[in-house]
């Protein structure tokens, strides 16, 4: 919810959210400690090399002020939860302004324009251009320029004390050097701000577009599922009634029906059954969200598998197939959305039976690994060519061989397997060789099958 709000209201044209900005702020706190340590260390070293040249008391005070401020920032960042991006950004800005002032004070205490520390201003402008927008970036750049220029001018005209870093020649009185350095500094800072602002403006536009597209996709997906749902509900009743009518006609007509009429009715009944199967698959496919809302219940996986295999025995016998089950000898109880699990197993087993050549063998193996249930359904059927192996999990895709083999099947069986398995936190793998058979392996984590992640919430 928070994340959504961020996306919609605040960071729609920002690249950061309140929470991600806070994580960065916490990093700034750490960097500021590094700065304090560096200032203290550099002062000590400088005092060794150039004894008495730097006002170490002043520098120590500045480091102390920085440390004290940082304690306040750190405590605030830990105590106050990040709520509002605008408030967080204002804090970043305040901290940055404070840091720039202290940087200028320390620069003044350590040689002013002679000190390469002035590169630190650049870092602030770069960070500002990443976090802020347009005018705010230039505000930071101009502040840095104003502070450095003020310090240098002050030192040059004797309004501010100057501490020599380069003892040989006091650069602060060397006007061409000052002007060259300041001129370069102005240019670099403003140019950095300009480039940063335009790059980030471009990035924000891309991000806004991505967010917009994402929203459209979610809406389109929902519309599709709503449509499927409507179709399944509205079409199933008349088709079911027509099926009953045809079946009743054959039943009531009995032997009195002319053979040709009975043959026609039988064909009609067959096609209507196929239509019903397709509608049922479509309903399963669209109601993943409903299935998830059902309470998870405890089941014995062995029983579900045996039931699924049992339901296919007639068809297997008709094709003279041998169906072997290798199940663990103890109950495999798990808490789970049974409807989905049942459908996964049933679809795999019925596919194995449907696409097996007569006389073949289907093997259903449940391997209870320590952290997962691994269900393998292997057949010696028509197999799936490598280029089709990803596509068979796409909605409505059926391989050529599958279409030749059987006009049953909707192309939704495997997509349902994939969708439901993933909804239960598991994975599906496929190994297959055309003409040799296929092995589908479903791996379900022992934990998480019950408390499945809410992948398909947007579909509901």
């Amino acid at each position: 919810m928070d994340k959504e709000n961020d996306l919609r209201d605040e960071s729609a044209s920002h690249f950061v959210s309140a929470a991600s900005l806070r994580r960065r702020l916490e990093w700034f706190d750490k960097l500021r400690w590094v700065a304090v340590v560096c200032v203290v260390a550099a002062t000590l070293v400088a005092d060794r090399i150039l004894p008495g040249s730097l006002p170490w008391r002043g520098l120590a005070t500045s480091a102390g002020v920085l440390a004290a401020l940082n304690v306040i920032y750190t405590v605030r960042n830990h105590r106050v939860p990040p709520r509002n991006l605008r408030v967080e950004l204002r804090h970043v800005k305040l901290q940055m302004v404070g840091d720039l002032f202290l940087l200028t004070v320390m620069l003044n205490q350590s040689g002013g324009i002679e000190n390469p520390l002035l590169f630190m201003y650049l870092i602030h402008v770069v960070i500002a251009s990443l976090l802020f927008k347009g005018r705010e970036i230039f505000q930071i750049a101009w502040l840095a320029i104003f502070l450095l220029t003020g310090d240098v001018a002050g030192e040059h005209f004797g309004l501010l004390p100057h501490h020599h870093l380069l003892s040989a020649s006091p650069a602060t009185h060397h006007l061409p050097f000052i002007l060259l350095t300041l001129g370069t500094f102005w240019l670099v800072l403003l140019f950095t701000a300009y480039i940063g602002a335009s790059i980030m403006r471009h990035n924000r536009a891309i991000k806004d577009e991505l967010v917009q597209r994402q929203r459209e996709l979610v809406a389109a997906d929902k519309a599709k599922l709503d449509f499927f749902r409507f179709v399944t509900h509205e079409i199933k009743s008349p088709v079911a009634t027509a099926t009953s009518a045809v079946q009743a006609a054959r039943e009531l007509g009995g032997r009195a029906l002319p053979a040709k009429v009975d043959d026609l009715l039988e064909r009609a009944a067959g096609r209507l059954s196929l239509a019903i199967e397709m509608i049922k698959d479509l309903a399963d496919f669209t109601r993943g969200g409903d299935l998830r809302r059902a309470e998870p219940v405890e089941v014995d996986l062995n029983v579900l598998i045996a039931r699924a295999v049992g339901s296919q025995q007639d068809e297997a016998a008709r094709k003279d197939l041998r169906v072997d089950m290798k199940l663990p000898s103890v109950q495999q109880r798990l808490v789970c959305h049974v409807g989905m699990l049942e459908k996964i197993i049933l679809n795999l087993v019925s596919n194995a039976v449907r696409y097996s050549e007569p006389g073949g063998r289907v093997e259903v193996v449940l391997d209870p690994a320590p952290d997962a249930y691994v269900l393998k359904v292997a057949d010696q059927g028509i197999g799936i060519a490598p280029q089709d192996q990803d596509k068979v999990f796409d909605e409505f895709y059926r391989t050529r061989r599958a279409q030749d083999m059987s006009n049953l099947g909707t192309g939704l069986g495997l997509p349902i397997v994939k969708k439901f398995t993933e909804a239960l936190g598991g994975t599906v793998a496929l190994e297959s060789q055309p003409g040799r058979g296929s092995v589908f392996t479903v791996t379900l984590p022992r934990t998480g099958a019950a408390a499945a992640p809410d992948h398909t919430r947007e579909a509901s």
Binding site: A240, S244, A245, A248, A294, H337, E342
Partner: protein, 132 residues
Amino acid sequence: MNTDRTILVIDDDIDLVEIIRMTLENEGYRVIDAQTGQRGIATAKAENPDLILLDVMMGTVDEGFQVAYELRGDAATRDIPILMLTAVTDQTGFGFDPDKDQQFLPVDEFLEKPVSPRKLIDLVRKHLPAKA
């Protein structure tokens, strides 16, 4: 034959009602029907049928359930077996498990449409109370 057994069909799908009527009359049952839940309840009380075939979804998604609860709550109709028909099994999330759900559902059998005539006749026979 079965002419003295009356079966009440409560369903708003007139075609299906006629199909069921033909199927069951062919077996010798007397078939009466009602197109709405309320009329179904009234007919059940007036005619005291031996068995009721009830559609889940008529006017509303669960009208059939409401009818079943009312029939079960009334002493006059409490003991009439109810076979419930539905076009969709996802009313409660997943397919009904008769072993498990029967204790919650006030019906004797739950059937997903289409039900073949054979199966319908078998189930009607199974649930009809033995003749007094």
